[in-house]
Structures are given as C-alpha cells and as structure tokens.
C-alpha cells in the first residue's frame, strides 16, 4: 500500500534519512520505533511532502506521491496526526472537524456520526475551544480530525507524548478497533512500548535514517532484546 | 608574498575599482568629473546601507534620515548659522557624523531595546520616520523650510585662517576619492574582522550569540550607529558639492533610491553596493534621456525582477563568481 524506496531527505544540507526503504501492507498496523533523532518524524514529514525529498520514491497504491504538494498527498488518502497534536486552539471542536472535511471533501461531513461514536467525548464538547482541552483530549481531537479526511492510511507521530497513561491505553484500543472495523492502515511512530504492544501487528526499527530491523508483535512480546538494542540509550 | 595573501589579495577588488576611478578624470571633461563627485558620494551612502542591511541584517527603509541629518548639520555649520567660529569644514564634517550617529543611537536604543522591533516592522517604522522628518524639514522655516538651505560653501581644506576652498570639481574629486576610498577599505577590513563575524552571527544565530555572552543590543546598535555616521558623512559631503540642502535629502525618495542601488548591486557585498549606486546613476543619466519618463518604470521593474531572480544582486552575483575563480574573497 505504501512503498518507500531509497528515500533521502533532510533539512538543508544534512540528510536525516539515508536510503530508507520500507513497505507497509494494506490493513496492517505498523509501529516505527527508534531513539530520538533517528529520523522518525522526518520520515512522516517527508511522506506528507512537508520537507523536500532529495532522492528516492514514495508510492502510495502504486502511484508516486513524492513530488506532490502536501494537500494533494492528503487528498490521495494519507491522513496525518502531527507530533504535538497541532489542533487549532482558537477553533471549537466542531470547527476543527469541519475544517478537515472542508479540506478533503464536504461529503466527509457524513462521517461525523461515526466519529462521535468512536470518540463520544468530542460530541459532548462540540462547542468547546480546542485550546482548553487537556493533552489527551487534544490528541483524540487530532486523530478524529485526521479521520475526518477519510484516509486510507493514517500516519501518527508519537500520539502518546505527554499524555496520561490511562488515555494512552484508551487511544490504543480505540485505534485498533477503528482499524479492524474500517480496514484502515496505520503507520505509528511511537516510543511508548505499551502503546506499541497494544496496537501494532508489525514493528520496524530505525537507526540513523535507515531501516534496521523488522519483527512481528509476537516476536516483540517474547524478546526484549530488540527493544534494548534499539531503544535504550 | 605572505603579506599579499593575508592582507592585500582580498582587498584587490576594492583597490582596482578605486584605482580605475582615480584615472577617469584624465580622460573626461569637467562635466563628468562633477558627476563623478556625486557618484562617489552616492556610493558612500550605498556603503552605509549595505553595512547595516547586508551585514547587520537591519533593513532600514529610511536610510536617508541620516544622510539628511548630515546634510543639514553640515549646511548649518559651514554657513555659519550656529556661530561664525564654527564655520569650518572639518568641524562641519565632525558635527555631521556625530549628529547622525547620535540620532541613530537614540533611535536604535529606543527601537532595539527590550523585545525590540525587527524585520518588517522595523522597515516600516524607519520609513515612517523618514517621511515625518521630511515633512518636518519642509515646515521648519528657520532651516529654509520647503526651499531648503541655499549657497552651502564647498569643502575648505584650509585651517587657521588659510583657506583652501575646493570650488573646482577636480580637486574636490580627489578629496572625495581619498575619503570614500578610506571608508571603503576600512569597512572591507571591518567586515572581515571578528566584529564582522559577530555581525554575521546576529543574522544567522542570534540566540547562540546571546548564549556566548555577547550583547546583541550593543552589537546591533553599534552597526546601526556606524552606518548612520557614514550616511551622515555622505550627506555632509553631498551639500559641499551640491551647495544645497533640501528636505528631499532626508525623505522618502532618496531612501527609496539608495535601497534600489544597494539591492540591485548586492547588499551583502560592500563593493557591489557601491558599484550599484554608480551603475544606477550612470544608467539613469543615459537612459532617462533615451526613455524619458519610461526610465522610472524600467527602474522599478528592474528592481522588482532583480529581487525575485537575483536576490544577491545584479553586480554581486557575477562578482562572486569571478572572485571564486580567482580565489579572492569578495564578501
């Protein structure tokens, strides 16, 4: 579904991603793990067209998306939940959700009932400004907002960062449920091992801008050595 | 040889430029020499803007503020309007430089202190100040009001009762040449010194600079004042060759012109800014005869296109290329 070949990208002269290649198959939840500064966020930004790509290809359903503008990548069906959530603080919950529908297609407003069903808290607080929300609630809103664009694949950048553990678990379970209900493909960048264990079916590890290991969720549960190798400092 | 590599080589472009300028009076008539005098002064003015904008990163849209202050102070002093005792070119020049720098210090410490105004805001504010001052001078009848001050005497190199007044354009040319050349060489040296390196880092890494214990305020203020002093000097010299100080010297139009010269020439290369002023003035005197009123239209469009396509400047870009080939550091 998403195929990345020999991707080189970075900021200015410095390349953060060095010939990164990976394939994400349809309907799967893949977690991308690695220490800070290894290029995880850069990879998601490169996929979204938010930073320039030096070389390599990104194919989405066999169509190249690496030279498209960000909004077209989104319209092609790539949903993105950025690091730090980036909800629109001055907008109400409803306005945040409506905006996503305006960006993608107004027909997606029909998704609202489903979104409310998945995240009832949003329905309760439709008229509340997003800026008044807690971190966890903002994260839920950011995910819901991305889902409002009706994506085929969802890229999540550290959704658990700075969020209380109870909500982390809830988000993980809810996302798995949505994925199995709708067949949504998910690429999750995450450092929180619990979240990864809750959700992921496949785990890939990244080091210095390269893909270094790949394993199934079962492997991860049985073998802590991988985690030690790629996550401890 | 070592001395050549270390000291002289990188100043070669400036030396060659001024060397050729010095030879021009041998080949041209009086009219062109007097034009050259204006070019030198405008070039000096362009150097001042290049310093503060290209090196200091402060976009001052009202650079004529300082040129005008220098011009008026020089006029008032040498016309004996303050006191006959002060009717002396040296005192006039010193006062002009001092007043421009002092006004810059006042303005700068007001604008930069604390959180400070910068970028686009600073640009607009300085432009507004230039417009206000032009309006003020137009209505300050003691200083000639709208008509300005006429009959400003030329430079007088004499002292202690001996007069050496430079009424002719040739001696005036070589005097100006010496002054402008010294400033140009001095600035070339300055921007490559440690001070220049600090200036570059205000533009790129202001936070890190503060971290290392340098006061950004002082640094910005110093370059702002130095630039103002040079602009003031240019203004003072201008009235000695023009004989006339008027409100236009302090206002909007001249501020725009110097900005165009420096932008077209190349703000980040002193020599390019200097040549930008001269080239634009020469182009103006030729092309405005051919194209008439279309000249300003052409100038506006050239300015626009050069900003978009060659943001480093029409002169600085080829200059840097040549410099790279000969391994001479241009900027």
């Amino acid at each position: 579904m998403l195929e990345i070949k020999d991707l080189k990208a970075g900021y200015g002269e410095a390349m953060v991603l060095n010939d990164f290649s990976v394939e994400i198959s349809h309907g799967q939840i893949t977690a991308l793990m690695g220490r800070n500064g290894m290029g995880k966020t850069t990879l998601l930004k490169a996929i979204m067209g938010l930073i320039p790509i030096k070389s390599g290809r990104i194919l989405f359903n066999d169509t190249p998306i690496d030279n498209l503008q960000t909004y077209l990548i989104s319209k092609a069906g790539v949903g993105y939940v950025p690091q730090g959530r980036e909800v629109f603080d001055d907008f109400t919950v409803y306005e945040n959700l409506r905006l996503a529908a305006l960006g993608s297609s107004k027909q997606n407003l029909a998704l609202l009932p489903k979104i409310y069903d998945w995240f009832p808290i949003l329905k309760e607080r439709l008229d509340q400004k997003a800026g008044t929300f807690s971190g966890g609630q903002q994260q839920i809103l950011a995910i819901a907002r991305a889902l409002m664009t009706n994506p085929k694949i969802l890229l999540l950048d550290e959704p658990t960062e700075g969020i209380q553990p109870s909500i982390v678990h809830e988000i993980g379970i809810q996302l798995s449920r949505i994925a199995s209900e709708t067949g949504l493909t998910i690429l999750l960048v995450e450092q929180n091992v619990d979240m990864v264990k809750t959700m992921a079916e496949e785990i890939i590890f990244m080091e210095n801008g390269k893909l270094t290991a790949r394993c199934s969720a079962a492997d991860l549960k049985n073998d802590d050595a991988l985690l030690h190798r790629y996550l401890t400092i | 040889m070592e001395f050549w590599e270390a000291k002289l080589k990188n100043k070669l472009p400036v030396i060659i430029t001024f060397g050729s300028l010095a030879l021009i009076p041998l080949f041209v008539g009086d009219y062109w020499i007097s034009q050259l005098n204006y070019y030198l002064v405008y070039g000096l003015f362009a150097l001042s803007l290049s310093l503060v904008w290209g090196y200091g990163g402060i976009l001052c849209l009202g650079q004529a503020i300082f040129f005008g202050i220098g011009a008026y102070v020089m006029a008032v002093t040498t016309k004996g309007m303050i006191s006959p005792i002060l009717m002396n070119s040296y005192i006039g020049l010193a006062l002009a430089i001092l007043c421009s720098a002092a006004f810059a210090a006042l303005l700068g410490s007001f604008l930069f202190a604390g959180k400070g105004i910068n970028g686009a805001y600073l640009a607009i504010v300085t432009l507004a100040i230039a417009i206000v001052l032009e309006r003020l001078m137009s209505n300050w009848y003691l200083l000639g009001g709208y008509n300005g001050l006429l009959d400003v005497p030329p430079l007088n190199l004499g002292a202690f009762g001996y007069d050496i007044e430079l009424w002719d354009s040739l001696p005036a040319f070589y005097t100006l040449w010496v002054i402008v050349f010294s400033v140009a060489i001095g600035l070339t040296y300055l921007v490559r010194s440690d001070y220049g390196i600090l200036l570059t880092s205000i533009k790129t890494n202001p936070d890190r600079l503060a971290y290392f214990g340098f006061s950004i305020l002082k640094l910005k203020l110093s370059v702002f004042c130095l630039s103002a002093a040079i602009a003031g000097l240019a203004g003072a010299l201008f009235v000695t060759i023009d004989g006339f100080a008027s409100p236009t010297l302090i206002g909007f139009t001249l501020s725009t012109e110097v900005l165009i010269w420096v932008a077209i020439g190349g703000k980040e290369v002193l020599l390019a800014a200097f040549l930008g002023a001269i080239a634009t003035r020469i182009a103006e005197s030729w092309l405005s005869e051919i194209f008439g009123d279309y000249w300003i239209l052409i100038l506006g469009i050239t300015f626009m296109v050069s900003v978009v396509l060659l943001p480093k400047g029409l002169i600085a870009t080829p200059l840097s290329h040549i410099g790279k080939r000969l391994s001479i550091k241009i900027d």
């Binding site: 980036e86 305006l102 | 626009m304």
Partner: protein, 286 residues
C-alpha cells in the same frame, strides 16, 4: 457644537477608509506574511478606474463595480507573477512590491500625467438637520465602508472560506496536511485584499484629489494602524485604524496637518515600541 461634530464625522469617515485599506494589508500580511508596499498604488488605481469610467460617461455605480474587479484581477496577476515566487522570503516581498509600486505609479503618470484628476460626486445633495449640514455622498461612503468592513469580518469569521483562511494563518503545514490547498487560499486572500483597496479608492475618489502620489499617504497610516492595533486579530485593525486615523484627522483640524502627522507617527511608534503586540495584544503571526 458643530465645531466638534463636523470634525468628528470627518474623522470617522477617514477612519473607515483607513480601516478598509488596513484590512486588505492585514489579510495579506497576516495570511502570507507578505508586506505589500504596492497596496497604496492599488488603492490609487481603484480611484483612476473611477476617473476612466467617468470620462467614458458611464454611471458611477459601474465604476464602483469595475474598480474592485479590475484591481482584483491586477492582484491576481501580481500574485501569480510576483508574490508566489517570493512569499517564503518575507523581507524580499517588501522590496519587490516596492519596486512594483514605483512601476505602477510611473505607469499611471505615463498614462494620465502627474497632475491631479477630479472625479465628480454622483450625489450633490447635502444633508441638513437644523444647524447641521454635511455632504450626502460622504455619509453614503461611510455607510458603504462600514458595511464592507462588516462584510470582510463576516467572510473571515463566519464562513467556511474564513475558517480555512484562519486555519492557514495559524498552522499552514497542518492545514495542508488536512487537504487544504494553502497556495490557492493565499492567492484568493491576496485578491480579496487588493480588490478591497481598489474599491476603497473608487469609493473616495470624488472626495479627494486623485493623483499618482495618493497611495503613499494611505499606505503608511495603514501599516501603522496594523502595527498599533496588533497584527493578530482582525479586530486589531479596527482599534488601530481608529487610533491612527482618529488622532490624525482630529489633530489636523485642531492644530495643523504637519503637527498632526508628526504627532501621530510619534505616538504610533511609541505604541509599537511599548506594546509590540499592539493595543489589543494578541499573537503576531510571522
């Protein structure tokens, strides 16, 4: 009584026009971070469109419709040929649009000559209530300006377009990642800003002398209004325009035009310095 009332109405009418111009500047600045130094010239061209329509013998209302359309079209061309190539370099937009303003001004000089043109007012009537008398057309201009300002606020605060525009101002990358074509929004915001300037120029053409230099006289106060009011919220423009326009207009009557201009600039600079986020405060984008 009339000594106070008339200057107050004059001041309000100046404030309204100033706000209209500043709103256009603000939309472009707030949204794209672009300082449009040619905004005053677009305003001037709006007035010249009115000069042309009138000399062609067309009714006034045609000028009022043509001015925003033509100036908006010009804005579209400017955005396509100039702004979109440099909007990542905000300081260069100052220079490039300044070059543009010189070119536009000179273009008008070449076509119409440097002298002032006059536009006759479509309505000669004067409103008289007791001792009070005021030209009807000026009151109508005030009414139209006020509704245009209200309309702009409505567009940006109440419509889907406005929602997207405000989203792009706040978080351009995130907005794009939600499928919003930021470039297109920039373009249309620029066109709206320029069209507003054109309309303002056409609207007040009968009340002022129309000449190639008229733009600058509104550009700088327009910018000062934005800076004084605070660049974040649209409401800042109202406050800033009121403060700058009101003071300048009233001091002109009560002291002198020069003193007024100097006082306003000095006060504005003081406010900008002491309250960098404007009277209303708020976030300043870019």
């Amino acid at each position: 009584m009339m000594d106070i009332l008339i200057p107050l109405i004059d001041a309000s009418s100046y404030v309204l026009i100033l706000v209209l111009i500043a709103l256009g500047l603000m939309i472009i600045f707030g949204m794209m971070g672009v300082i449009n130094m040619a905004h005053g010239e677009l305003f001037m061209i709006g007035a010249y469109v009115m000069v042309l329509t009138q000399s062609a013998g067309l009714p006034f209302i045609v000028g009022l419709i043509l001015a925003p359309l033509l100036v908006g079209l010009l804005g579209l061309i400017i955005e396509t040929l100039l702004i979109r190539h440099i909007y990542l370099r905000p300081l260069d937009t100052i220079l490039a649009t300044w070059g543009l303003s010189i070119a536009l001004k000179q273009g008008i000089v070449l076509i119409f000559g440097p002298e002032a043109q006059s536009v006759t007012s479509p309505i000669d009537a004067t409103l008289i209530i007791g001792d009070f008398s005021y030209p009807m057309y000026r009151l109508i201009v005030m009414g139209i300006s006020a509704s245009l300002i209200a309309g702009t606020f409505w567009l940006f605060l109440k419509t889907d377009f406005g929602l997207m525009a405000r989203a792009v101002i706040a978080r351009p990358d995130t907005s794009a990642a939600l499928g919003i074509n930021t470039r297109r929004l920039y373009r249309w915001s620029f066109v709206i800003g320029t069209a507003l300037a054109g309309l303002a120029g056409a609207l007040i053409a009968p009340t002022i002398s129309v000449d190639p230099q008229m733009g600058l006289g509104y550009l700088i106060p327009g910018f000062l209004s934005i800076l004084v009011g605070g660049a974040g919220p649209l409401a800042g423009v109202l406050v800033g325009g009121g403060a700058v326009g009101g003071t300048s207009s009233l001091l002109t009557v009560w002291i002198s035009p020069v003193a007024a201009q100097i006082a306003v600039f000095v006060l504005a600079i003081l406010v900008i310095r002491l309250r960098p986020n404007g009277i209303l405060g708020g976030k300043i984008e870019k």
